[in-house]
Amino acid sequence: MGASAHRIGALARHRVVLLRRSPGQVVVYTVMACLLTLVVEPMAELLPTAGVAAPPGARAAAGMLVFCSLFMAGVAGAAVVDERVWRTAERLRSTPARPAELLAGTALPLLGLLLVQQVVVLVVASTLYPTGLGPHWPRLLGVGTAWAACVLGIGLLLAAVTTTSAQLSTVKDLTALALSTTGGAVVPLAALPSWLAPAGRFSPAYWAVAGYLGGPAPAGTAVAVLAGVAVVTFATATVLLGRRRP
């Protein structure tokens, strides 16, 4: 157990080094979420709420956070694709580290980063506008953790089905736009075209927004759905990555 924790620690520390060396995407997507919240809030006041009681500031923050954090799936995916491009994936496989240790060492810092992004965006949003989210921090913590795991799983799955950084970038953008748009993160479901709105519940973005806002779906259900998506995407990515012949 000690040896395993030691190896995971070595990998996690190294992942932090690599993230610090290339912070651009993380900074951009975090700042983007804050700026979009700032400019979208006035529009949120005018859009239908479909019974969600949260103030416009909270609705803008939740939507823009979910929208921008989906692009962070690219940061997660890059952790895998870069290992392939640099040929370090093979080197890691020749070490005593088990696959679960390699995954944990890579995933833990990324999970932490996704959580930090959420904290920054929600805190900035709460200083810009009244969001009413502060007292609900236990719910935010649960939803935020499940959503971070979900984004991480999506990123790993995208890395498993792509080969190059360019492919990952393209697929990541399409996935982020599709999931956030259909899920009501960019425009509330109630304001979407009638033919598109029913697809919302199939997007994890819908459950993330609902979880942050405490409606229309209960937070517990949102956490369960997001955790389920995370498990499925992780498992699928693990199988697909394991099948790749070096």
Partner: protein, 252 residues
Amino acid sequence: MLDAEDLRASFGRVRALDGFTLAVGAGEVVGLIGPNGAGKSTFDRVVAGIVRPDGGSVRVAGVDSAREPYRARARLGLAGQDLALYPTATVRENLRLFAGLAGLGRRAGAQALERTCTELDLLDLLGRRVATLSGGQQRRVHAAAAMLPRPAVLLLDEPTVGADPTSRLALLGAVRTHAQEGAAVCYTTHYLPELDVLGATLAIAVAGRVVARGTRERLLAEAGTDDLDSVYRAWTAASPGPGAALAGTREA
């Protein structure tokens, strides 16, 4: 120290290893030579556990790598044909990772890092990002990552490709030191004079198997020549060339 018996591995229709058998003793450097496509790199990858063989067995320092793959990997170091380093990280950061994965604690890792970097003349480069290094310097770091934990079995696949003379000398010196300390070294190269510098025994691989094995003197005597190039050409011309080992179409 390294016992590979009758290894077989195919990639689609290409039979990369076709009964590859090689044993390397403690303190021995084996120069693994052969034409492109002979299976040399695939052999290293099978021993290191990156590729699962279709048949055969491998024992690394007495550990069966099929039954206990992670214990076996803990006893070997691999520097493959392609550079495998993190370009945005420094030399020290790269080596710290591999020291940690090899189970070295902070103090032991620092000592191993200093010792290996002294051998490979990397001390002045520790703070430099790998992407800023020359090809030869990167080759030394690549080898250092494999040598750091002082493994019982060392697999080096063309470690001096593209290396300048300074880097080449440092690498060869470090390999000799490892062998003198008891490591079994499998050294793949196309530069035959390096094997003289290392005092290596030879294994000539062709079409997925070892066709000649022994000391330089013995192979020369058997061939009736004093030119190792002639011995190499004779063995590689006599056996099927690369690509001939297609499953189901092997020539007699």
